[in-house]
Symmetry: C2
Subunit: 436 residues, 2 copies
Amino acid sequence: MSAPVDVPVALLGYGTVGSAVHRLLEDGAEDIARATGHRLRVVRALVRDPGREREHAPAHGVLTGDFRRIVDDGGVALVAEVMGGVEPTGEYVAELLRRGIPVVTANKQLVARHGPELFEAAAEGGAQLRFEASVCAAIPVIKLLRESLVVTNVHRVLGIVNGTTNFVLGEMEAGSTYADALAEAQRLGYAEADPTEDVSGLDAAAKMAILATVAFGSRVALEGVEVAGIDALRDEHVAAARALEMRVKLVGEAVLVGERVGVRVGPAFVDAHHPLASIEGAFNAVMLQGDAIRELTLEGPGAGGTETASAIVADLVSVLGASEAGFLRDDPVWRSLGALPHGELPSPYYLRLEVEDRAGVLARLAQELASEGVSVARLVQQPGDGHAVLHVVTHEAPAGRVEAALRAIRALPESRGDASALPVVSSRGVEELGWT
Amino acid sequence: MSAPVDVPVALLGYGTVGSAVHRLLEDGAEDIARATGHRLRVVRALVRDPGREREHAPAHGVLTGDFRRIVDDGGVALVAEVMGGVEPTGEYVAELLRRGIPVVTANKQLVARHGPELFEAAAEGGAQLRFEASVCAAIPVIKLLRESLVVTNVHRVLGIVNGTTNFVLGEMEAGSTYADALAEAQRLGYAEADPTEDVSGLDAAAKMAILATVAFGSRVALEGVEVAGIDALRDEHVAAARALEMRVKLVGEAVLVGERVGVRVGPAFVDAHHPLASIEGAFNAVMLQGDAIRELTLEGPGAGGTETASAIVADLVSVLGASEAGFLRDDPVWRSLGALPHGELPSPYYLRLEVEDRAGVLARLAQELASEGVSVARLVQQPGDGHAVLHVVTHEAPAGRVEAALRAIRALPESRGDASALPVVSSRGVEELGWT
């Protein structure tokens, strides 16, 4: 591989997201060079107060309080806008684009309100404007709509695009009042001190406006979105949803009906069998329905500094990939890792054991498991006809140790039937699992 | 916009997927030209018998039985391989790549078994080889791993990557025997007459080998995957999963532990709260866990002619996008659609109505709904303290008509409390919804 091409990058803003972008570019420099043939180096970062102490501070001379030093410098090839706000951010971005410098932005309000001017500036300068991070952080829905779903005629977008309200609704389903759930969201950092933007549905509306614009190729203004928040939701609705085997979610919906577009955001009942029903906590999800793909659902963290920074870096990488020859020509294989021997892959396990129903058997089973280092998280004993069935869920253990314990258990004189094991996939701790 | 650049395309194969690619390229020509500045035109298609009658047959002279007419023609700029098989397909693809012609393939076995030689040929010819369609059809997981998740250090891939077995397991959970479920899958066209490849886990193993290779950047051979099928699963396992509030799924797992890779496929218990638990029927899903993104889950159809063709076209479009300047420079907005007036967005609705509990009330409510054209799918009446609470789920109706019916109902003398409505999101028919 030839030496990577140096790409001087400027950041507008150096807060939580900006410093995370800087860190990902440094830590991922090898990966980026391999994928794109370029080395991205942060040479300027615009901040209000360059003298202030910061975590993960850039090298001396990188921070500046003067936008002219970025735009007039001549050396900056790529810019990430992570300062937020609409003024003066919009003017900065437009000027950079007009000068032919590609910009990547995380700014939902800027894209939703000033998309037309910014894309005009981009066309004038022949520069790319990318905005993946402006909607649902780490979920790469903009890239998919623009690059993968070109011919699929996406005609409906459904989304849970606000993590704060999704968390609050989940707490309400679990029995909390609206006020308690909101307070808990604030305590965990999911909700702002002033949660209006989230609970009123306005945050979700801006994201749905951007998604509808990209999906249907026609501008949808924020004011065109019909919005209801979760603040008007009543406990009886949550109870009725449960009785109907549904969940209450704040759902964004954008549809193309003939040649007209409709976009709305509001609380809705979601059938438990629908892909959006299982979106838990502060996660986000977007479902795209199109002719050629039926439906495609993307789920992931919709907020967070590193998650947003990851989307910013993906856009920076895509700008390079789309403008140079190197991207994706190469074999995806670039190293030679060893194989983990079969049996070493760890997992919690479900074990089904049939044994004679007499004193001391349980102790012997527990001993066989323990001697292989397999620890029991939960155990349910069901009496059978002269024998007992034991259902065991273990803590994480290597497959080989579980197999060894099973072999020992099968060899016990008290063993009846065939002991079997299956891995358990859970994002909760296995202690929390029930038995109904 | 300047006139699009003409790009002559050849197809290797013209079966279900090949003809669907042809149709999508024709129907989506405007969309592709707008996104990439190119017009893709199928000029050759390699088939065994060019004289046979076909659905959506290409123009006269396009079909050929001679590979030399494709490779020596001089005019073909881009090739989609949709003929399947390993020989002679692999030699054809390698020759095209060595000559600098980019190839897009849907061939899982070819990529899993002959990746090294093919990528070597691609490097030699300086041509791209893309293979999105080889894993999970319409789910664009390869593109995301290679272009969006460059710096996220993906260290675990979990997948339900075989729709046949997912359908069979779902039927077993609903009470079918394994044999009946498999027969039903065959009847619906989800399973082959010989279902060995699917039920043994071998199909899933090939997909997991490709996913692990791309995710970790290190070659994983098919033989390196630890495989168990669903054929050994017993009814007791399905019952135990239900009792534990889990689901039984055929799960593929690829992990990076230190500098070693482990990949396995087999039945597993999946916690009902885990994103993979809700994958229904013949759908597929892939969960990617990485440092910067936590986890990202993609769900969609994992098979089907049009779905696979959609992935092929996405790869063709991406080759053009990555090799020319036009891709994504433009504003995503290209047309000006009208706005659907608020209230016209149709949806099924949940209505909560409180009324006096006396004869004739129900008829009056039904009349108010009917006069707005709102049709009742389900109705549950709960007696209250001198009044009744009615829970109504309607068939699809425009929001405005539902609102109008609610206003009329609120004005009835028998009305008590505040009637309210929420949209219902369901992929099942609302008649099937229960009330517990």
